[in-house]
């Protein structure tokens, strides 16, 4: 159990690292949202599942799973709201053509 938990935590941390790299590297807000809504959600999810496996079946792990479910619903919704708000304000996504024009 503990070994499986450690492996899951490792994978989760890797995904979190990818999120941060994506957040820094990707060209515009909308593409960054991709990195956040996908890798960050699964990253924190795997870390929490890993921690729950370390704990075993107790009330604490039940609460961890509850928090996990909440994050799985809340994270995409938050990303969705932010992009929606950005589009309403009139920020248009970056496209390949834009980068060609800049050069």
């Amino acid at each position: 159990m503990a070994i499986a938990g450690t492996v899951l935590i490792g994978v989760g941390l890797f995904l979190m690292a990818v999120t941060v790299i994506g957040l820094i590297r990707l060209p515009d807000f909308y593409t960054r949202t991709h990195a956040v809504s996908k890798t960050d959600t699964l990253g924190i999810g795997l870390v929490l599942v890993g921690l729950a496996l370390h704990e075993g079946v107790t009330l604490v792990s039940l609460k961890i799973v509850l928090g996990l479910l909440f994050i799985f619903i809340a994270n995409p919704v938050a990303a969705h709201l932010l992009t929606r708000s950005a589009l309403q304000v009139g920020i248009m996504p970056w496209t390949r053509r834009d980068s060609a024009r800049e050069q």
């Binding site: 996908k38 995409p76 929606r84």
Partner: protein, 213 residues
């Protein structure tokens, strides 16, 4: 202050208990029961005690919270959507199919993550984002909400806006645009909710004028 709150509760109660159009599981009683069981279950899970006193406190506070929030989150007939069928068999079947749907969604989430990892860590960053819109053929509010969240969680696509039946989706690469075009996810969600759909056409959005709603 307290008086105003009591008034809200009273109005909410009156409006909700006498919804004469409701049939089957649409009857307010069932929704109240479902919410109370859910909230009281959450209470038990968070407090970690199961004795009679705590359970009673949980049920009482769940009912209190519900009576206040019901007035705010009143599920009326939302514009542009149909009510789902009122049959209990439909509800049971949908819950069952949703339970089967989740493992499939989890697999898609895993694929999505591998995809994003590939895009972000590739030094050339092979992305080619585009913004598309389509009219969702799904008819109920719940199925459209599930579709929107599924699109966000699966490979390369994020739902930007969903108002009435209009979906605006941001795709990170050309392959992902294809996937939306084929409507794999749409068909699956339609199957879960027992609806029959045709895959809609996509339109590209390139300027702020086209986005206007």
């Amino acid at each position: 202050m307290l008086h105003a709150q009591l008034e809200t509760v009273r109005i909410a109660l009156r409006m909700r208990w006498h919804d004469s159009n409701a049939r089957g599981w649409h009857r307010p009683v069932f929704r109240w029961l479902a919410y109370i069981v859910l909230l009281a279950g959450l209470w038990v899970a968070l407090s970690g005690r199961l004795d009679g006193l705590f359970l009673a406190m949980g049920i009482i506070s769940a009912t209190a919270v519900l009576s206040v929030t019901e007035a705010i989150f009143r599920p009326g007939d939302p514009v542009g959507f149909e009510r789902p069928p009122a049959r209990f068999s439909w509800l049971a079947g949908t819950v069952f199919r949703l339970v089967i749907y989740f493992p499939l969604l989890l697999r898609d989430i895993a694929v999505a993550n591998v995809h994003v990892v590939h895009l972000v860590l590739n030094p050339r960053m092979p992305i080619s984002p585009s913004l598309v819109e389509f009219e969702s053929p799904l008819r109920t509010e719940a199925s459209n909400a599930v579709l929107a969240n599924s699109i966000t969680l699966t490979p390369g696509t994020v739902t930007v806006d969903m108002s009435a039946n209009r979906f605006i989706v941001h795709c990170i690469s050309e392959t992902m645009r294809q996937e939306i075009q084929e409507g794999v996810l749409l068909k699956r969600v339609a199957h879960v909710f027992g609806e029959k759909v045709e895959v809609p056409k996509l339109r590209n959005l390139t300027s702020a004028e086209e986005v206007k709603w």
